[in-house]
């Protein structure tokens, strides 16, 4: 394991100003994620899990505090820099799959690569390899609407892997799936982590939280004790 953590959060806070005063979505979060970790952020609904994941994924910015990714500060980047890092370092998996309806499966998976200077044939080849990892290569020419929920989530996983990211961020990946498909996705996550992928997952499902190597509890935006296996 590298000594330098993959992700380091120092006193990270995200707050909103409302008529009722200042509200903290998350407050003074200190967290370290090392390469190869399989971490789960758990907590009740509205505790700030998704907000934390958004900041980790550079989809949102913290109000204060520091965020280091691969040893580089990531808290004061401009929108273009954040986009570049998201494209290269981060793979997203969402609860609602978030596939683009008028692109084929293969095109959806290759989409992140289209933001790099690559030939189309090269992009498609890498995307096909990614589909094969999730056993969905035969559906490459299908459209998302032709697939089941479980299959769509597999496509979403393939898309997240196509850029060879430093970390996979999964926000309630089984939230829209039945238990069988949910289990299948979690099995996939296990396989990826066994291969050395760093995974940070948000879930409120205790069954799936147990499958991670460590769980951090969030409540009212504050990080409680973490536990590891």
């Amino acid at each position: 394991m590298n000594e330098e953590p993959l992700i380091k959060l120092v006193s990270l806070t995200k707050s909103f100003t409302t008529d009722a005063g200042e509200i903290h979505a998350i407050k003074d979060i200190n967290l370290i994620i090392n390469a190869g970790d399989y971490i789960c952020i758990a907590g009740p609904s509205g505790c700030g899990k998704s907000t934390l994941l958004s900041i980790l994924g550079l989809l949102d910015t913290a109000t204060s505090g520091d965020y280091y990714l691969n040893g580089h500060q990531a808290h004061d980047l401009d929108v273009y820099q954040r986009a570049e890092i998201r494209n290269k370092e981060i793979g997203f998996i969402f609860q609602s799959f978030n596939l683009i309806g008028d692109l084929t499966v293969l095109e959806n998976v290759a989409l992140p690569l289209s933001y790099r200077k690559m030939k189309k044939s090269e992009r498609m080849e890498i995307a096909m390899n990614s589909l094969e990892k999730v056993n969905m290569a035969e559906r490459a020419k299908y459209y998302p609407a032709q697939l089941s929920g479980g299959q769509q989530q597999r496509i979403a996983v393939a898309r997240s892997l196509v850029v060879d990211p430093s970390i996979l961020l999964a926000d309630e990946p089984t939230g829209n799936l039945d238990s069988k498909n949910g289990g299948a996705i979690m099995d996939l996550f296990d396989e990826l982590n066994d291969e050395g992928r760093t995974i940070c997952m948000v879930t409120h499902d205790a069954r799936f939280a147990k499958r991670s190597s460590s769980v951090v509890e969030l409540q009212d935006g504050i990080l409680l004790d973490s536990s590891s296996k």
Partner: protein, 704 residues
């Protein structure tokens, strides 16, 4: 024919239709008051009678029916008003009054009537039921042949006798057909652009009503019922639009009638009547159906639409393709209309620049039309007095002022030394009787020989000056100067003494025609137009002109006084109007299309917030997001333009009827139009595209 009417206020010029007694009876026209002519009232010695046209009656006699029985003086004879016509199309000409042929100084003249070969009247007839135009023509040809045999001196074989039968309906429509079809075509295209735009907006509206329709269907509504609902809504909206359009038409009726009058005597038929209302209703209903069809017959997945979180997948393929197809259609049609407008504008520009061959600067035209007796003394007197005025440089006369009437009055003639040829092959040219200084007043250049000279003023002319077109057409490989032509089959001859430059006599967009000029003589019998060269303003010089004319003859009516520049501009009025209308339609179509593309791009952005969120999450920066939607919009624009340009290649020959010195397939104009459309479209979609970059990805990704 133009005459001076006296006996009711000031002497006024009237246009008189000269007819046989049964003209109105044959056409089934019954008078509003009084009567029309009876048998025998068109024969020599008959009492001079007048029938008033409806418009003249209303304008000059305030619509007073007591005018029937009134006596008026015309052509040194007392005429009695016997009847008033109902409102009729101005056909065959816009006549103020109608008189029997015996009352006409020309057509009632025994000498006129004895000249069989003088074609001074048009013949109108009603075909028997079941008789075709073709068989009637054959009958006429038979009669012509019989007349030739009976009167060989009047109808020599070398000239023959021929006739052409034309349906009155065709004659009445005149030159209007081509222009009206063009405008109808353009209007239809604009309507289609609007329909496509509304269809796209309807599709956008439907996206937000997807769940509503799904619920209705879940509760038992059949797809046909849903379609009926959607079409009803669409037709209702288009009926409101149609009503507003009708209101606009009612408010601009006078303008429409004035425009129509430029082309056809049927202008008085331009009104809002049952036919127009039915047409408007029909178009409105069809527009509603076309606009609503894209939504009414759209296939829906009820279960998917009812599910919560149906936003797992962004917009479906079919819906997006339909919207894109509609927008491509709009750009295609807008390109066709805009290119047509560009070509017509270019044509108009060339028309305005066209050299008409004569000077219009500082020249005033005075239309005296029918002049009093003793014309030569009158002319000499007026010219002398006006020329003496310090404000006036020179005065000329002619029987025709170029561009004024727009009528192509050609005459047959014979060239000395050329073999006799058949009547159909007789040469013809425009004939103009002029004062000897006519060409100098109008600054028409002398190319060879000499202008008409003062010494040529005799009782009957013996010389003529021809224009370049005449020389080029009839004296190809030989000099024209010194040659002689005859207008009366060799009885008298005119020697060609000069060749002048071509001028546009008939219309600006009509090429010069072979023309010969004959000097005015003492027994001038033609219409009289005066040309006055002066630097004084029209309103300043008009009182002087009027005074001099009336001092020379108080009974002389002045039909019109206008600058030659105004006459030229007036001759360009109809192409300018067509150009303006087409340009207006093109602008309208383009604005509708622009609003369509802005709307579609904005809608795409709003519907794609989740997709934008996904793309941003995957690493797309703001510039990429902007470019994505901008390119989507511009691609549709380019595809639409391409299809439009292909269609335009096939449609462009239809424009050639209205273009002047402009090829309908004009690649530079096509490219220019395409570039302008693309540039403006790119600017227009900047705002909605910019909105795309403001989407908050973390919020968009959480939205269901």
């Amino acid at each position: 024919m133009s005459f001076t009417l006296l006996g009711h206020g000031d002497a006024s010029n009237v246009e008189a239709g000269v007819v046989s007694w049964n003209f109105f009876e044959m056409l089934g026209i019954k008078p509003l008051f009084g009567r029309t002519f009876l048998p025998g009232e068109d024969e020599q010695g008959a009492k001079p009678l007048i029938v008033l046209s409806h418009q003249y009656w209303r304008e000059k006699f305030n619509g007073n029916p007591d005018v029937v029985g009134m006596s008026l003086e015309m052509n040194n004879a007392v005429h009695q008003v016997i009847g008033i016509l109902p409102a009729l199309p101005a056909y065959p000409f816009k006549n103020d009054i109608w008189i029997g042929s015996s009352s006409c100084p020309g057509r009632g003249n025994i000498v006129y009537n004895s000249q069989r070969s003088w074609a001074v009247s048009n013949l109108y007839g009603k075909l028997k039921l079941g008789t075709s135009l073709q068989s009637a023509s054959l009958d006429f040809n038979t009669i012509s042949q019989q007349l030739q045999l009976a009167y060989p001196d009047q109808y020599p074989k070398s000239q023959g006798l021929s006739n052409t039968l034309t349906p009155m309906r065709t004659d009445m429509a005149g030159e209007s057909g081509k222009t009206f079809y063009l405008l109808m075509g353009i209007t239809l295209l604009v309507l289609l652009v609007a329909c496509a735009n509304v269809a796209n907006l309807n599709l956008a509206r439907t996206a937000s009503r997807k769940q509503e329709f799904a619920i209705r269907e879940a509760l038992g509504a059949s797809p046909r019922r849903i379609a009926r609902q959607v079409l009803t809504e669409s037709i209702f909206l288009s009926l409101i639009g149609g009503a507003l359009g009708l209101l606009l038409a009612m408010l601009s009726l006078d303008l429409l009638a004035d425009f129509t009058a430029l082309y056809t005597p049927l202008a008085s038929e331009v009104k809002i009547n049952a036919s127009v209302l039915i047409f408007c209703l029909t178009v409105s209903v069809f527009t509603g159906i076309i606009s609503g069809a894209s939504v009414a017959f759209q296939q829906r997945n009820i279960s998917e639409s009812l599910k919560e979180g149906s936003g797992n997948i962004t917009t479906t393929v079919n819906s997006k393709k339909l919207r894109q197809a509609l927008l491509i259609t709009q750009f295609c049609l807008a390109f066709i209309i805009l290119t047509s407008a560009t070509l017509i504008s270019l044509s108009l520009y060339r028309l305005n620049l066209q050299d008409i061959g004569f000077d219009t600067t500082d020249i005033i035209a005075v239309d005296l039309s029918s002049s009093a007796n003793e014309r030569s003394e009158f002319i000499i007197d007026v010219a002398k007095r006006l020329t003496a005025a310090p404000e006036i440089d020179s005065v000329g006369f002619s029987s025709e002022i170029p561009l004024m009437t727009g009528r192509d009055k050609r005459r047959f003639f014979q060239i000395e030394g050329q073999n006799s040829i058949s009547r159909d092959e007789r040469p013809e040219a425009l004939r103009n009787e002029v004062s000897v200084n006519f060409h100098q007043v109008l600054n028409i250049p002398l190319l060879q020989g000499k202008y008409l000279q003062l010494s040529d003023d005799k009782n009957s002319p013996t010389v003529t000056v021809i224009n370049k077109s005449f020389a080029d057409r009839f004296f190809i490989n030989e000099p024209a100067i010194g040659k002689r032509i005859s207008l009366d089959e060799g009885a008298t001859w005119l020697e060609i003494i000069g060749i002048v430059g071509d001028i546009r006599e008939v219309k600006v967009d009509t090429s010069p025609v072979p023309t010969f000029y004959i000097p005015w003589v003492s027994n001038w019998q033609y219409d009289l137009q005066m040309l006055i060269k002066t630097q004084a303003l029209l309103k300043t010089i008009t009182p002087l002109i009027t005074k001099v004319v009336h001092e020379a003859n108080p009974r002389q009516a002045i039909v019109d006084i206008a600058t030659l520049k105004y006459i030229k501009d007036k001759s360009l009025a109809s192409p300018r109007l067509v150009g303006s209308l087409v340009s207006l339609f093109a602008l309208l179509a383009f604005l509708i299309t622009l609003s369509g593309v802005i709307g579609v791009v904005a809608f795409n952005v709003s519907q794609s917030s989740k997709e934008i969120g996904i793309r941003v999450a995957l690493g797309a920066n703001p510039k990429r997001i902007r470019n994505l939607f901008a390119l989507q919009g511009m691609l549709l624009c380019v595809i639409g333009i391409f299809i439009g340009s292909v269609i335009m290649v096939f449609l462009s020959p239809l424009l050639s009827n209205v273009l002047f010195q402009t090829e309908p397939f004009n690649l530079p104009m096509y490219l220019l139009t395409a570039v302008v459309i693309c540039l403006v479209a790119a600017l227009a979609i900047l705002v909605p595209v910019q909105q795309a970059t403001k989407v908050q990805p973390n919020q968009a990704l959480r939205e269901q």
